[in-house]
Point group: C2
Chain length 277, copies 2
């Protein structure tokens, strides 16, 4: 998918929501546990109920991996179900991978070939050749960690480079945006760090940002839209727990649908304010 196509889906759905499928078998409704594949049944119900309101799904791979081989089957079925349900969707493997070249090539094969993802999140620490193998797949995206939403972000990401005066996360934005075009590179910027969004937009005015941290982690959608939106929206704002675990009863999918549509409606306001729809 290209940058332009992603923007068209945003305009069509009047939404820049990404739903995080962080499906934890400990947290899904009890009545699903007797099915053959509770994780997939949960995801299927969530997808069927929310796909009109979201432009992206983002399974966090940790939750699937922790279930062993069965978890990877649930993941594969989930990706296939999304593809069979709608064409207007962007699917992100939240995997935060990155290794030396021949190994990253294996990861790229996993997520772009074995599984049909559009994008993968990658850690920048090992530099260009740890990300290049992902970029070798046309119309597939690498979403590079820049400024993350967690407390530990302050350990290294704000370290100030003596030579350039830039902070580490700013160096990552500057350097990694040169690794390919805005059709293949996106950045993770936490919603808990909105005070940095203005500066980030000076460095990467045109790139999409994947913004986690709205909801359970306390970030504000309004501020993200105010400081982060660009002429092609340029934002995918993720919510996981606030949607998929909004109810743990039989009505979980219906409540998830309501929550997703609530967020979408707020997003529609910001898209209109910026004359994007």
């Amino acid at each position: 998918m290209t940058h332009e196509q992603l923007f068209q889906i945003i305009q069509k759905k009047r939404s820049f929501l990404c739903i995080g499928l962080d499906t934890d078998i400990q947290k899904i409704p009890a009545h699903l546990l007797s099915t053959d594949d509770p994780v997939f049944e949960f995801n299927k119900a969530i997808i069927d109920a929310t796909h009109d309101f979201t432009v992206a799904y983002k399974p966090n791979i940790a939750f699937y991996e922790s279930q062993g081989p069965k978890g990877w089957e649930s993941l594969g079925k989930t990706v296939d179900h999304i593809r069979n349900t709608t064409k207007d969707i962007f699917i992100i493997a939240d995997a935060k991978r990155g290794d030396i070249g021949n190994t990253s090539a294996m990861y790229a094969k996993t997520f772009f070939d074995t599984y049909d993802f559009d994008a993968i999140t990658v850690a920048p620490y090992m530099g260009k050749d740890s990300v290049s193998p992902f970029l070798a797949f046309e119309e597939k995206w690498s979403i590079v960690l820049a400024l993350t939403s967690n407390q530990g972000a302050t350990d290294f990401q704000f370290l100030e480079d003596k030579a350039s005066g830039k902070k580490l996360f700013e160096k990552v934005l500057t350097t990694a945006s040169g690794w390919s075009s805005k059709d293949q590179i996106m950045f993770v910027v936490g919603a808990t760090k909105t005070e940095s969004l203005t500066d980030i937009r000076k460095i990467v005015p045109d790139h999409f940002l994947l913004v986690p941290g709205v909801g359970a982690q306390g970030g504000s959608l309004q501020e993200v839209a105010r400081f982060g939106m660009n002429e092609q929206c340029g934002l995918l704002v993720n919510s996981s727990r606030g949607i998929i675990y909004a109810s743990k009863a039989h009505d979980f999918a219906e409540i998830a649908s309501q929550k997703a549509d609530e967020i979408r409606k707020e997003m529609e306001v910001y898209l209109k304010q910026n004359n994007l729809i």
Copy 2:
């Protein structure tokens, strides 16, 4: 496993070798491809032939993940086979994981609970709370990326912090060594960066270093031992392709055994020179 126990295995085996099980189905001998689980059959033969010469095995998870659910079955069987073959062994999941706390907890569960690894490699970019969930498992290790063996290491790892004058990888060593004791934290330092080992030993004199890059990537074992060895050895030197793919014929395991013993013999010399055996 404790730091002391790992050193005892090194003394007993007169080796500080780690064999990387980067098992690529495209590269294993043709006669194994007709078996039910070629990846496991390859690993089993390598393990049976080399376990006397190595103190650690390090499956790189990318290679298993790329095979889908079946790859994870091969991985589980591989770990079980190592455990059933020898007690004197340290098993590393080369996974380079790291995410926000609740997600890293899932990864920790995967590698320390679902699979019986002793250690996992982790990326430091997201800071302390992305590593803490791994450290919550007693006698399990986090091996933090510090200075990697690839070309892209120069993109960010040498950035010089204005406040402290330290390079990023030195900040990682200083900061992460405070996250737990030397019984739970180890660092990745590439064998292609031996000129930095003297400085690294000033920052972390007592910690184990996992050193990839000898062999296919061009690093020198002699230099690693010269500049990196401490009073309890403090080194695990990895070789992957140079051992497991030394032959692609029927004799692959026998040749792997010879290659591993060759390296072990060289290691024995360095251990003796340092009066550690």
